[in-house]
């Protein structure tokens, strides 16, 4: 037992220095040198202010913008620190709804959201538009969910739908090599392009 103490303590310390400090700090240095944008969080800067990260979804509520997916993230209740309040797209506290498939709360939420959405566009609602994402920060929607919102955005922007469809198509990313992953539309980048288009 005692003869094992020295290697146990020495190796714990040695691994802490090697794997806990040298490795992460070395990777930080390399990453900042090789991929500074990505290592810093893929931030998007407009007119000197950071408007977000290309990888992190944010809340859009105006009719003039395409909307992302429902987000179940929360924040500490300012009135009572032991409780939480809903705070969609809180990028400092990621998480999903954790509602199970037979949850009344889940069905109530989806029913209300689907009813609202069907007022602006008849027909089946794309599943991703009324289901909350795993992280609560999903930056993407499916191409079908973008198409679903084209009519609303076009009306709010006084634009033709075809003009918006072209913009959505330009911001739709297919599967990698046509095979891996799923087709996606990045909502923040699409909305930035939308602002650019109509600022001209």
């Amino acid at each position: 037992m005692l003869k094992h103490l020295r290697p146990a303590i020495v190796l714990t310390l040695a691994f802490t220095v090697l794997c806990g400090l040298a490795y992460p700090l070395g990777i930080t240095g390399l990453a900042q040198a090789l991929f500074p944008g990505e290592a810093g969080g893929s931030l998007i800067v407009r007119n000197g202010t950071v408007v977000g990260s290309a990888l992190i979804g944010q809340s859009f509520t105006s009719d003039k913008y395409f909307h992302g997916r429902p987000s179940a993230t929360t924040d500490t209740d300012p009135a009572d620190a032991t409780k939480t309040v809903p705070a969609p797209y809180n990028a400092a506290n990621s998480g999903g709804s954790n509602l199970g498939p037979t949850s009344q709360a889940l069905v109530d939420r989806v029913k209300a959201d689907a009813a609202t959405l069907r007022k602006e566009h008849p027909g089946p609602v794309p599943a991703d538009l009324v289901t909350s994402s795993a992280s609560g920060l999903d930056p993407h929607i499916t191409p079908a969910a973008a198409e679903f919102q084209v009519a609303r955005v076009a009306k709010a922007r006084h634009s033709s739908e075809d003009r918006l469809r072209a913009l959505v198509a330009a911001h739709t990313r297919d599967r990698l090599a046509g095979l891996i992953g799923e087709p996606t539309v990045n909502v923040l980048q699409l909305n930035l392009a939308l602002d650019d288009l109509f600022a001209q």
């Binding site: 931030l43 498939p101 794309p126 993407h140 602002d195």
Partner: protein, 569 residues
């Protein structure tokens, strides 16, 4: 289900198959003490470690000495991590000013990372400092993974050696595994993940202002360096609360594919290592095939269940082609979420890219079954192989009973001592996971943590103890685990799940090592063919089924039947 979905499952499987031999070959050279292509760089560092630690790399250890060394090392790991968590507020690299963890949460977290479980009762971005994540959790991601592999290497030596008193040197196996396997792959993996968009920075959280003018604080950390070892070491503890579902912790479909491959990489490679060590690679491929078939069965069921979706939601006017997207990310979709959930619970990784709590009932059944079978489908690094070899002993014992002959496996006679120790190792898991589930479901302190009502609530509790006893670490995360009850019982569960299995397993290793190796005779049951694979799968499913069918019926099975009738809670 789509053709492209099946193609993605096939592509992943093909990559794992192709990597198995090279990894196994490298490990065989490494753990036999031969030079590898990394030796010119790493050998001086390795020797330095031995000098500092006072270890003579030529001295081998008896199985009991090996086990005690491992336990003392894990005790040192636990103590240092516990101290770090309790002193967090006083330590550097803490730009967000995180304070110390409570004693029960620190205990749970320290046990969790020492046992390779990485169950998390805290939310990463809201609780821990950069220093804790790096010098605390990252270190134990390496150390616990290396511990698991060292133990598997010792058991394999037990099968491979003839009349030997020793099974290797724990310190040497530990250092070699960390330096030559875990660290180099992690460095490459971390850089790859940064390229894909995973942050690696020590700056403070970024304050952004959205297009609609709202303030938006973005948590970003040195994520990539921990992410790589979290996958490779089947640890699974996420930097962020949402784990590998967080776009910073898994930004693209490609990063997702590489994460899944890293989870299986060492577990698959170890099967080939086993085959090479016992002198017949086909022995390794028979184990690999058993694991592979169980993996494919789980992936197929989970993919089918999630693609079929939730009939209650479809009835509200949702496009049925979308499947069950609650708790999933668009960039992964149904297939990559289902595949990841299978892989992470086959191996005792426990990282998640989808919220398991929101899986359909049968979709959620698959991860539970994967863990309940004992994390032997590639499994935790090292733990998967030694767990599977214990099942092989049971299977060969059953086969021996059927023909009335002393069972043999790779030339070693399996006698009363090995079979008894194996049963002891295998029975400790149901004792803790079923035992604590039963108690928690019956007392207010246990039920208080449940987020969903009805059978799903029971599933949340059962999943928690299953995950902790199997050292997996994934969760039906609606359960509020950061309570005194769950912190303490969880710590006990994780401890027993890890060490109560290891000690008898090491006794088997020592006993086997001391035996002669018999040449195969006409009466030897061949352990490289389909009959052996079928027997092994049958044994695993019968043992698992008999133990857990009642508990699974009360949770996911009954919930599935209720969901079909539209019942809600």
């Amino acid at each position: 289900m789509t053709l492209d979905g099946w193609f993605q499952i096939a592509l992943f499987s093909a990559i794992v198959v192709l990597l198995t031999r090279p990894v196994g070959g490298f490990m065989t050279r490494l753990f036999s003490g031969e030079r590898t292509f990394l030796s010119p760089v790493l050998r001086p560092l390795e020797i330095g470690f031995y000098r500092l630690a006072g270890v003579d790399e030529k001295t081998e250890q008896h199985w009991l000495t090996y086990t005690v060394a491992m336990l003392v090392f894990n005790l040192a790991c636990f103590a240092s991590l516990y101290a770090l968590l309790r002193l967090q507020g006083l330590l550097p690299f803490n730009p967000q000013g995180m304070t110390a963890l409570t004693p029960d949460l620190a205990l749970n977290t320290a046990i969790s990372f020492t046992t390779n479980t990485n169950w998390q009762n805290y939310g990463g971005e809201s609780t821990l400092s950069y220093f804790t994540q790096m010098a605390g959790l990252t270190v134990h991601n390496f150390a616990s993974a290396a511990t698991g592999i060292a133990l598997a290497v010792a058991l394999v030596r037990g099968f491979a050696r003839r009349s030997s008193k020793t099974v290797g040197n724990f310190w040497v196996d530990l250092v070699r595994c960390t330096l030559y396997v875990l660290l180099p792959v992690s460095i490459l993996g971390a850089l790859f993940f940064v390229w894909q968009g995973v942050p690696q920075t020590l700056g403070t959280y970024t304050e952004a202002y959205t297009l609609e003018g709202a303030k938006h604080v973005i948590a970003q950390w040195p994520v990539a360096s921990q992410l790589a070892i979290k996958m490779l070491g089947t640890n699974g503890g996420g930097f962020f609360n949402a784990n590998s579902a967080h776009p910073f912790e898994n930004p693209t479909a490609l990063s997702n594919l590489v994460q899944m491959v890293l989870i299986f990489l060492l577990g698959a490679g170890l099967t080939n290592f086993f085959g090479r060590m016992v002198g017949d690679e086909r022995q390794g491929w028979a184990i690999f095939t058993t694991m592979g078939l169980l993996f494919l069965a789980g992936a197929a069921v989970l993919y089918w269940a999630e693609a079929a979706g939730n009939p209650t939601l479809t009835a509200l006017g949702l496009d049925p082609a979308g499947g069950n997207m609650e708790g999933k990310e668009v960039r992964f979709g149904i297939v990559n979420s289902a595949l990841f959930a299978t892989v992470t619970t086959d191996a005792s990784c426990g990282a998640v890219n989808t919220m398991h709590d929101s899986l359909t009932p049968l979709g959620g059944l698959v991860p539970m079954v994967n863990m309940l079978l004992g994390e032997i489908i590639f499994g935790g690094v090292g733990a998967g192989l030694y767990g599977m070899l214990l099942f092989v002993i049971v299977a060969m014992f059953v086969a021996g009973l059927m023909v009335g002959r002393t069972p043999e496996y790779v030339g070693k006679k399996l006698e009363a001592k090995e079979v008894k120790m194996t049963m002891l190792a295998l029975l400790c898991l149901p004792l803790v996971n079923l035992g604590f589930t039963a108690i928690a479901a019956a007392i207010p302190a246990g039920v208080a943590g449940v987020a969903n009502a009805g059978p799903h609530g029971f599933s949340e509790i059962f999943y928690a103890y299953t995950s902790m006893s199997a050292n997996n670490g994934s969760a039906f995360a609606g359960l509020s685990g950061n309570t005194l009850w769950y912190n303490l019982t969880g710590a006990v569960t994780m401890f027993i799940g890890r060490f109560a299995m290891i000690v008898p397993m090491m006794a088997v290793a020592g006993s086997l090592a001391a035996k002669k190796r018999l040449p195969p005779s006409l009466g030897t049951f061949p352990t490289t063919g389909p009959l052996f694979v079928a027997l092994l799968i049958g044994t695993i499913l019968i043992v698992g089924g008999l133990t857990y069918f009642p508990a699974l019926s009360v949770g996911p099975v009954v919930e599935h039947l209720l969901m079909q009738t539209g019942a809600l809670y």
